[in-house]
Each structure stands twice: as C-alpha cells, then as structure tokens.
C-alpha cells in the first residue's frame, strides 16, 4: 500500500511519486500520514517534510503552505521549497 504524493509550488511541480509515509509540520503539530488516512485539509508551518520511500527517508525544507489528504493522495502546496 502506498500513497501518491504531489508537491507543488507556484513555479514548478516539485515532486510527484509513490511513497510509504510522509510527515509534515502542521499548524497544530506534526502530522504523520500513512495510506488510508482520513480526508484532511491543514495549514502547514515552515519546516521539514519527511518522506519515506521504500524504507529510506528524505527531507525537504518548505515554507508555509497547505496539505490536502484525499483518498490515498496527498497534495502539498507551498510558496517555496527552500532546499
């Protein structure tokens, strides 16, 4: 079971791939998202997005933005990817 993760900024499609898990800096605290997560819409703080793909972790620094979790699909919208 995997999640479809998409990260968009106003100037590019930064990332689009299948991942196992993603941890994001939500406004109310860190959110860990696994497949089959319930639908969610949240503001994101500036911070690190951690992505787990096939057992490996990858980190991306982002500015403020949004996360939308739909049916096994995670869309992250940020103003800027800082790395």
């Amino acid at each position: 079971m995997t999640l479809q993760l998409e990260i968009y900024t106003p100037v590019q499609e930064y990332l689009k791939k299948e991942v196992d898990m993603v941890i994001v800096p939500g406004k109310m605290g860190e959110l860990g998202i696994l497949p089959q997560h319930t639908p969610l819409l949240s503001l994101l703080n500036e911070g690190m997005v951690k992505i787990k793909t096939e057992g490996k972790w990858q980190e991306i620094k982002i500015s403020e933005g949004y996360i939308e979790v739909g049916s096994n699909k995670v869309t992250i919208l940020v103003d800027n990817v800082l790395t």
């Binding site: 968009y8 900024t9 106003p10 939500g26 406004k27 969610l40 949240s42 503001l43 049916s71």
Partner: protein, 288 residues
C-alpha cells in the same frame, strides 16, 4: 535625383535594420518558449488552490469574509494594469491602454474615483501623463518572480481592508495563441468564486485550523497566484506580439531592399549610358 552612391548607402542601412529586427524576432521566440513553460508550471498550483478554496467555501458558506463580499457603495476603483517594459511589440500596449480608458470612462460616469497600480513602465508613463492617481509602479523584470506577485497581492489586500480602495480589477493581454492576444479584465477584489458542488467527501474532511482561518489565507494566496498568472500570460503575449511585429518588419525591409536595388540598377545604367553617349559625342566632334 539620388546618385548611385546615395542609394547604395540607403540599401546598407536598411540591411542593418533588417539584421536587427531578425535578431529581435529570434530573441522573442526563445523568450516566448520559456515563458510558455512557466505558465504550464504555474497551472497545477493555481488549480489546486482554487480547488481547496471552493471546497472550504462550500463547507462554510455562512462564513463571512470581507474579501468576498461586494461593498454597497463603491467609491474608489483600482486598476492593476500590466503592460510591457519596452516597445517594438505592435499594438500590445495600446490595446491594454485603450481597454482601460474605456473602463475608466464607464466608471467616471458613475462618478467613481480611479487609482492605478502599474506593472510595466509603458502603462505607467502613459497614465502618469493623463494625471490619474498612481498608487504604485513596478517594472517588469525577467525572470518573473513569484515574490513580486506576493508583494502586490498583500498591498492590494491591505488597501482593500483599510478601505482605500473598494474594488480592484486586473487588466492584461491574455496569451491566446501565437498570433492573437486578447485584453482581459478580471475583478480580483472582491473575489467572485462559484464553489464546486459535486464533491462527496465534503463533510468528512478534517480542517486544521478551522475553515475561517484557512479561507482567509487561501484567498490571499489565490489573489497572489492570479496576479502571477496574469504577469506570466502578459509576458508570453508580449513576446508573441514582438515576434509578429519583428517578423513583418523583416519582411518589409526585404521588400524595401529589393525596390532600392532596382532603383540603384536603373541609376547605374543611366550613368553608363550617359557616359557612352558623351564619348561618342566627343569622338564625332573630333572627326569633323
């Protein structure tokens, strides 16, 4: 009558101009391709923001947000005008200026005040001469940065909330195809959005923080990305207009050169004929 040397000189100068217009056309073509990519890259973000916003709106339609509500009495209308930094692009700037002038006439009939926010110097200098109130001027720099749109967006919202302006329109050349641009006028403040209705998961969503806060930040972002999109469209349209203008300039130069060449040949021939007849005349004078 022009001598052969004058004509030759003229041909050379037209040739130089032709080279310049040809180069300008090539530059515009590459810039246009780049800016087209930028438009495509901005699209998914813009669509997603719109999608999120209409979802939140649908969920909380009773939420009052001043940025969405039309004001009862509109006193000051703000026009955000996007023109180019440079000329040599056919009717690109004059089309926008004409459209704005018409809009202003309508607004002035209703005795409303007008103010301008200019993006691009061509429009700025024109409206400055017309003595319209100017609340900001930003030159358009390449590449077009998103941060510029963020700045403009926050200025507009600030002025809207402090009631310095009661509505805002953005006017720019839309990139329709390689050969056509169309002047577009959109109202960006207050926003008008029709929420999508077909979603089925609406009520199952968890919102963090609550929808009202989300909506306010989303609207600000939406305005920013609208401005950014308009800037990109206008830039692509400008390059297209320049491409077409420079292409026809190159063609005209070519035609002019061939006319001048014909003229040159004629004058040269006339000079030769004249010289021959002089020699013959001289010889005849001697033999008698």
């Amino acid at each position: 009558m022009a001598t052969a040397r004058d004509i030759k000189r003229k041909i050379n100068s037209v040739k130089n101009i032709q080279q310049i217009t040809k180069a300008m056309k090539l530059i515009a073509t590459t810039k246009m391709q780049k800016s087209q990519n930028a438009i495509i890259n901005a699209r998914p973000y813009a669509n997603s923001i719109y999608h999120l916003m209409s979802r939140v709106l649908q969920r909380s339609r009773e939420v009052y947000c001043s940025l969405l509500e039309k004001r009862g009495e509109v006193k000051v209308t703000c026009f955000l005008v996007i023109t180019s930094e440079r000329g040599f692009c056919g009717g690109f700037n004059s089309n926008v200026i004409k459209a704005i002038t018409n809009l202003i006439k309508d607004k002035e009939k209703e005795s409303k005040n007008i103010c301008m926010l200019n993006l691009g110097s061509k429009g700025y200098f024109y409206f400055k001469r017309q003595n319209y109130k100017n609340i900001g001027h930003y030159p358009i720099q390449e590449p077009i940065e998103y941060s510029l749109s963020q700045d403009i967006g926050s200025i507009l919202i600030e002025k809207y909330i402090s009631k310095e302006i009661d509505e805002a329109y953005i006017t720019f050349n839309e990139f329709k195809s390689l050969s056509t641009q169309r002047v577009m006028s959109l109202r960006i403040l207050p926003l008008n959005i029709e929420p999508e209705i077909e979603e089925k998961y609406v009520n199952e969503y968890i919102y963090e923080p609550d929808p009202i806060v989300l909506l306010q930040t989303l609207i600000a972002r939406y305005i920013n990305i609208q401005i950014h999109k308009a800037l990109l469209e206008s830039f692509a349209a400008e390059q297209c207009a320049r491409m077409v203008a420079m292409d026809s300039a190159t063609k005209n130069a070519k035609e002019m050169i061939s006319n001048l060449q014909l003229n040159y040949n004629r004058v040269r021939q006339a000079a030769i004929t004249k010289e021959i007849s002089e020699i013959i005349g001289g010889r005849e004078a001697l033999s008698i």
